[in-house]
Amino acid sequence: MLSIGQTVRLVANPSRIGTCTGTTITREDPVTKEKRLLWQIHFFDTNQYQYFTENQLEVVTGVKEHPLDLIKKGKIGQSRDLRKLLTHVRLNGRLADLLYSMDVSNTDYYAYQFKPVIRMLNSVSNGLLIADEVGLGKTIEAGLIWTELKNRYELRRLFVLCPAFLREKWKRELKSRFNIDAVIVDAREAKTYLEHAKHNHLSSFAIIASMQGLRPTKGWDDESSNNKRPTTLLGKLLLDRQNEESLIDMLVIDEAHYLRLGDIKKTDKKTSKLGRLLRGVSDYIVLLSATPIHLRSDDLYQLLNIVDETTFNQPNVFDEILKANEPLIKAREAVLSSKMNRTEFNELITNALSNELLSDNQQLRNFLLKPPSENDLKSFEKRSEIASRLDQINLLSNVITRTRRRDVVELKVVRDPKLHLIDLNSLEKQFYDKVTEIVRDFCLNNYQYEGFILTTPQRQMSSSIPAALYEWKKKAVKLSEQLYEDYGFQGDAEKVGPIIRELISKIEELGDYDELYNNDSKYKCLIRVIKGILNDKKNEKLVLFSYFKGTLNYLKRRLETENIKAVLLTGDQKKDKEELLTDFRETENHNILLSSEIGSEGIDLQFCRILINYDLPWNPMKIEQRIGRIDRLGQQADKIDIVNLLYNGTIDARIYMKLHDRLKIFNRALGGLEPIIGEEIQKLTVELFTSKLTPQQEDERIEQTAQALENIRNDEERLEKEAAHLIAYGDYILNQVKAIKEMNRWITGKDIQIYVVDYLRKNFPGTELQQIQEDKLEYFIKLTNEAKNELDDFIKINRIALNTRLISNSQMPIKCRFENKLISESTDRAEVINQIHPIVRFVSKMIEKESFPFFPVMSIILKKDRANLEIKNGRYLFAIQKWSIKGLQDIEKLFYVAINIDDEKNLSDKDSEMLVTSAAVLGEDWLEASNIIDFDRIYDLANDRCLSIADTNYDDFVLSLELQNEDRANLQLKTLKLHLENQIETLQEIKQKHIAFDRKSLVKATEGKMQALESRFERKTLEIGNRKSITSEKEEIAIGLINLI
C-alpha cells in the first residue's frame, strides 16, 4: 500500500520519479467491472500529476543505487538526466578541464585570450604576468581570468591598480564586457573597502584606483609619525595585514612596468612599494605590461619577483632557472619530436633533479618513480601529455604569458603608409622659428626640470599652428593627457605654466591668428587628402588622430565650415563614448572621427581602414598604439592606409625620416620595445631642446637614438627567441583552449533552463514557470513564497552580491531569460539567468544535498548529422567518472570512456567525451535499447572494461595532482618563511631604533608585533601543512548506451 509523500517510480520507465500525493481515484475495470485504485503521482520531470495503479509503480528507497546495479536490473532512464547531471557537475565550478569564462562575456572569441586563463589556473604562485604585445586585449584577458576564478572559487573582491588616465577605461571595459560595476576610488575610499573586507570575509567589491592616488608618501611607515594622510593610513593597513587572511581576491596591476625598481625616479619606487604591499594582501595577482620577455631583463625580474617572490628572489635567478630548465626543455623537445628512448628520458630527468631549484620537485621525482614506457614515448597523445607535464614543472611556464601579434592569425593586415611633407609658408615659418627659439631658451635655462615637459608648446605648434595659438590665447591648455599621448609619459604639467606665460607675453610677436588661420598649409593639405578619399568613396570612414586636443577642436570647427561632418572623441565629451561611436559608424555622412588616443581607448575602430596622423608623436610606441586602434582583431580590410602629415624642414620631419621610417613603424607592428622606447625618446627630446644643434647635428643625434633603438630591438628579438625556446611557449595551451571550445566544455542557457526549471518544479510545486514562446528560453517566473524565502535566506547567508527580482514581494511574475552571458544580447528588461545567477547557485547547492538527484543510467539515440562527429556509427557503451580532489585547490574532473559494443574497441578519451556530451545535448531517448541489448553482457563490459580504464586513469591523475599539490604547498611555505624573515628583520631594526632612543613602550609594542607575526606564521604553516596532502575520491556518475546513427 502506498502512502502520502512516498517517492515512487514507474516500473515501465524507472527514470520517471515522483511523489505519491495520497490522492486516489477509483476506476471501473471495463472488463471485470471491479473498482481499481489509482494513485496520483506528482512527476518531477514534467511537473504533472498522473494516476497509476500500484502494480505500475515501485517505491524508491532513497538508497543511492549504483549505475552498475541499475544496468544489471535493466533499468534505464532518460537522456535529459544526463544533461542535467553534466550541468550540475559543471556548475559546481571545480572542473579542471572546463573554462567558466568561455562564451559568457561580451567579447569575441579568440583562443589566445584564454591562454592566460589556463596559465593562471596552473599557476603555483597564484600570479601571472601577462606580457602580450599591445592591441591584443590584455584588459579582456584580465577580465576573463577574473570571470574564471570568480566562478570557480567564488571570488568577491577585485582590485585594479592602474595609471590615473586608464581608470575610466577600466571602468568602462569591466562594465561593457563583463557587467562588473566597478567603482573608482581614492586612497581613503580604498582603505574603507579594505577595512570592511578585514572584518567581513564575505564582502564584495570591484574597485579601481590609480597608482598616483594610492602611493604612500615619504616616511609613511615611520611609527612615531602622526601622519594622517589617507595614503599613509592605507599603507599602514596594508602593512599590518601582510600574510593575514587576504583582503583582495584578485589584484590587477595595469602598466605594471611602473612597479620596477631599476629606475632613478622616486615615484616608481613608491609605486613599487605600493604594488608589493597590495600583493601581500591579495590571493591572486595579474600584472599587465607589454614588457618584452627576455631573461637578461632586470625589469622582468622585478615584475616576476612580485608575482612569485620565492622563486624569483634575486636578480641573477634567471641564470639559475635557465640552467635548471635546460634539461626539462631538452626532454620536452625530444618527447615531442619522438626521438627519445626511456633511458635518455630518465637521464634528463635525473639531470634536472640535480639542480637545487628543482631538487625537491615531486612531480619530477615521479617521472623517475613511474617513468613513461617505451610505448608511451611512441604514442602521440601520451607524448603531448608528458610534454605538458614537463611544462608544468618548468619554472617559468606558469608565471608569464606572452602573445605576439605575429602569432595571431587574425591580425595579418598590410600597412600602407603615405607621407605628405608640407612646406611652411613665410608666416608659418616665422611663427615656428620664434616659438622654437622661446622653447629652446626656456629649456636651456631650466634643464634641472624634466626637460621634455617644457617642449610642450613646441609640440602643440607642430600639431597645428593656428590651434596652438588659439589655445594659448585662451590659456586653457590641459597638458597631462597630451604628454601621455605624445611621449607615453606623464609629467608634472604644472611646470609648463611659466613657458606658456612667456609665450603669451610675446604673443603679438608670434603672428596674427586670422592670417595664420587663412594660410594654414597643413589644413589645406588635409582637405585635399580628405576630398580625394571621399571622391573615390562617398561613405568612407576616416580616423584622424592628434595628440593635441586644441588641434582636434580646431579641425572640427573648420571642417564643419566645409560641410564635412566630423565626430569628436577626446574623452572630454559628456556624451557616452559608445553613443558617439555609433553615431559616427551609422550616420552616413559622418565621415571623420577626430580622436585623441585616450579618446579612442577601449573602443573598436576596426571598421575604418584609413588613418590620418595629423601630427606624429615622437614616441614610436604612441604611433603604434594609434595604428593599433584599426590594425586589430576584427579589421576586415587586407590593407590599411596610414596618411602622415608633417611640416617639412622641421625637427618632426627629421624624426620621421631618421627614426620612424628607419624603424619601419608604419609598416609593421613595433613589437616589444615599449617601456624602453619612452626613455630613449625622452633623452632625445631633452637633448634636442637643451643644446643648440645645427640641423645636421640634430640628424646625427636622432640617428643615434634610432640606432640605439634598433640595437635594442635586435637584442630583444634575439633574446626573446631564446626565451621563447626556454619558456614553455608550447602550442599545447592553445590546443587546450581550442579543445574546450570544440568539445562544448561550457554551460549554455539551455543547460541552465533544464536544470533550474526541472528543479523548481520538483521541489517547489506551485512555482509559476510559464514559457513565453516554445522556442525561446524566456519564462515568466513567480516563485512560491516558500521558494522565495529559501532563496532569500540563501542569498543572505552567502552574501551574494547579485540582485534578483525573483524574491521581490510583487505578485507579478518576473520575465526571465536563460542565457549564459554576463551581459545579455537583448536589450529588453528580462532578468538574465546565467551561471552565476543566485537561483542557479541556489539550485546547485540544494541538489548537492540530494542523495539521488538524477537517474544515472540512460540509453540515447544520436543522429550523426546533428552532432558533427568523426566517430563511426554504431552502438556504444559509456561511463562517466567524477574525480574529486581536495588539496590547496579543490579540483574535479569528469572522465569519459566509451566502448563500441560490437567490436569492443574503446574510443580515445577525446572522442568518448565528444560522443557523450553531444548525446547529452542532441540525443533522444533510445527506447528500443531495452529490447535489443543484452544487459548481462553490458554489465560485464561496463564493469570490466569501462570502469577499469577509468580507474587506471584516475590513479595517474590523482598522483600527478598530489605531486603538484605538494610542490605548490612547499612553495607557499617557503614564501611564507621568507616573508616572516623579512618582516622580523624589519621589526628587529625598528626595535633596535626604539632601544637606542630609549622608547620602552614602543619596544614592547614592537616585540608584541613580532610575537603576533610568529604566531600567525605558525597558524598559516599548519593550515598549508594540512592541505599539503590531498584527499581524493571517484564516483561513477553515469553509465549508458548510445546508438550513433
Binding site: 471495463p30 472488463v31 496520483q40 514559457q771
Partner: protein, 449 residues
C-alpha cells in the same frame, strides 16, 4: 492467431499504458496514441487517410460484398457520408440504406462499425510500428472518445457515447468487422450487456476541452480567460472558458459554448444562395422587352442591370462575415453577464482559432473588427495565439497542422481525475450590482434631514 491487442502472445510482467485518443470528426477522424510512462504521443497514420494528410481518416465507411466494414473504397462502392451528423440527428428509427448490401440499417450501427475499424487499425499500426520500443511490455489499453457538445446536451449524450465506445471496442476485437456483427453489438448495447476485454479504461470527454488540454498541461499555458473558435466545414464552434490550476487540479469554467452553421463550406453556400436569388429576381424581369425606340444595347450588362453591384463578392461575404462577427460578439455578451470584470477584457481574451477553415480571411477579419470596436467602445478585446504542437508528439506533422489533431491529442492525455469542469449551465449570470444605498437609510434621524 495473431494477437489483436498485444505485441505477442508471450506473457509479460511489466505493464505499459497506451491511451487511444479518438476524435470522431464530421469529415475526418483522428487518432493519437499516448504512452504516459514515456510521455510520448503518436498520431496514427492511416494508409487510407487523405493523401496529403494521412493522419486524417475520412469519416465515411465502405462495405464489401461480405458485409465487412472497410475504410477504403472496394469495387467502386459509394461511401456513406455525414455519419456523425446523422448519428447526432440521433433518431434510431432513421434508417440508412446500404446500397451494396441492399439492406437498411441505422447510423448508429454504421458508426459503431466504423469506429471499431478505426480502433482496430490504430492498434495494429502501433503494435507494428513500435514493436522494438515496447515489446517487453504488456500493453494496457485505454480508450478516450470525444463528445461533440458541452452543457446540458453533453450530459444527455455522454452516456450514449460511452456506450458507443464500449460497443466499438468490443467489435474491434473481431477479426472481421461486419455489419451483422455491428448490429449485434448495438443490440447488446441497448440491453447494456456489451462485454469487452483487453482494455483498462474507457472514457469520454468534451471535444472542446480535449482541444485545449494539450495546451492546458503545457508550460506555455496561461491561467486566463480564453476563447476557442473552431471553424469546421459546416459549423463554427465558439466557446469561452477560464483555465486555472488549484490544488493540483486544472479547472475549466466554460462560460459559453455555441455552435453556428457558419463553417467554411457555408461561405460557398451563402455565395451560391446570393447568386440564386439574384438570378431568380433578374429572370422575373428579363422577359420584358426593351423600349424599341432606344438603340439596341451594345453590352450585355444592359440586360443584367446592377450585376456588379448586386453580385459583388465583397458585399456577399460581408453579410456572412457580419453573421460570424455577431456570433462571436454574442458569446462575448453572454460571457460578460457571467464574468463582468475579467482583467483580460483590457489585455485581450486569449483566442485560439482551430479547424480546417481557420486561415480563411473572413474569420481572421472578425477578430480584428472586434478589436476595432473594443478600441472605440471599451468592449472586451481578443488576442489571437497559436496552439503550439506539444513537444512529445512523435511525428513529422508540421506545427501548422497541429490544430487538426489537437482534439485527438487532448483525448490521448491521461486526464482522469485531473480536472474539474463547470459547464455553461452550471455558471449563473453574475448578479447585477445593487444601486448605491440612499444615504438617508444610513442616517435615519431627523436632524440629518
Amino acid at each position: 492467431m495473431e494477437n489483436l491487442t498485444q505485441f505477442s502472445n508471450e506473457q509479460k510482467e511489466k505493464e505499459l499504458n497506451v491511451i487511444m485518443g479518438l476524435d470522431f470528426g464530421t469529415s475526418s477522424s483522428k487518432v493519437v496514441l499516448q504512452v504516459p510512462e514515456y510521455i510520448r504521443a503518436y498520431p496514427v497514420i492511416f494508409e487510407n487517410g487523405y493523401p496529403d494528410s494521412k493522419f486524417l481518416m475520412p469519416t465515411r465507411p465502405f462495405f464489401d460484398k461480405n458485409g465487412d466494414i472497410q475504410l477504403a473504397s472496394v469495387d467502386d462502392t459509394i461511401p456513406l457520408r455525414e455519419l456523425k451528423l446523422r448519428l447526432l440527428g440521433n433518431d434510431e428509427a432513421q434508417l440508412e440504406f446500404v446500397p451494396e448490401m441492399e439492406l437498411e440499417t441505422t447510423p448508429e450501427v454504421l458508426t459503431v462499425g466504423y469506429l471499431a475499424r478505426v480502433i482496430q487499425l490504430s492498434r495494429t499500426w502501433f503494435l507494428k510500428q513500435y514493436e522494438e520500443s515496447y515489446k517487453q511490455f504488456k500493453v494496457s489499453w485505454n480508450l478516450n472518445l470525444g463528445v461533440p457538445s458541452i452543457g446540458k446536451q453533453f450530459n444527455e449524450i455522454k452516456e450514449y457515447f460511452m456506450d458507443i465506445a464500449y460497443a466499438a471496442w468490443s467489435l474491434s476485437l473481431h477479426e472481421n468487422i461486419t455489419l451483422v456483427a455491428s448490429e449485434k453489438v448495438c443490440e447488446e448495447m441497448h440491453k447494456k450487456s456489451v462485454t469487452v476485454k483487453d482494455i483498462a479504461s474507457i472514457n469520454v470527454l468534451q471535444e472542446v476541452i480535449a482541444q485545449v488540454l494539450g495546451y492546458a498541461k503545457s508550460d506555455v499555458r496561461k491561467e486566463a480567460l480564453h476563447m476557442l473558435i473552431d471553424i469546421g466545414a459546416g459549423t463554427l464552434d465558439i466557446s469561452t472558458f477560464n483555465l486555472f490550476e488549484r490544488e493540483r487540479k486544472l479547472k475549466f469554467s466554460i462560460f459559453t459554448g455555441e455552435v453556428e452553421q457558419l463553417g467554411g463550406f457555408e461561405i460557398h453556400k451563402n455565395r451560391i444562395n446570393n447568386v440564386k436569388t439574384f438570378v431568380n429576381e433578374w429572370l422575373s424581369q428579363a422577359g420584358r422587352a426593351e423600349n424599341p425606340i432606344k438603340a439596341i444595347p451594345t453590352v450585355i450588362e444592359a440586360y443584367v442591370p446592377n450585376v456588379a453591384e448586386k453580385l459583388d463578392i465583397k458585399t456577399i461575404d460581408l453579410e456572412f462575415s457580419n453573421k460570424c462577427y455577431t456570433a462571436v460578439q454574442e458569446n462575448i455578451s453572454a460571457l460578460l453577464k457571467k464574468y463582468p470584470n475579467a482583467p483580460e477584457y483590457k489585455t485581450g481574451i486569449i483566442t485560439f482559432m482551430c479547424g480546417g477553415g481557420r486561415n480563411i480571411p473572413i474569420y481572421q477579419k472578425v477578430l480584428s473588427e472586434i478589436n476595432q470596436i473594443a478600441n472605440s467602445h471599451g468592449t472586451p478585446k481578443v488576442k489571437e495565439e497559436d496552439l503550439h504542437k506539444p513537444k512529445n508528439i512523435e511525428s513529422s506533422i508540421g506545427e501548422e497542422h497541429y490544430h487538426r489533431i489537437s482534439v485527438a491529442y487532448g483525448l490521448s492525455m491521461p486526464f482522469e481525475g485531473d480536472f474539474d469542469v463547470r459547464t455553461p449551465d452550471e455558471i449563473r449570470n453574475a448578479p447585477t450590482p445593487e444601486p448605491p444605498p440612499d444615504i438617508r437609510d444610513a442616517y435615519p434621524y431627523d436632524d440629518i434631514n
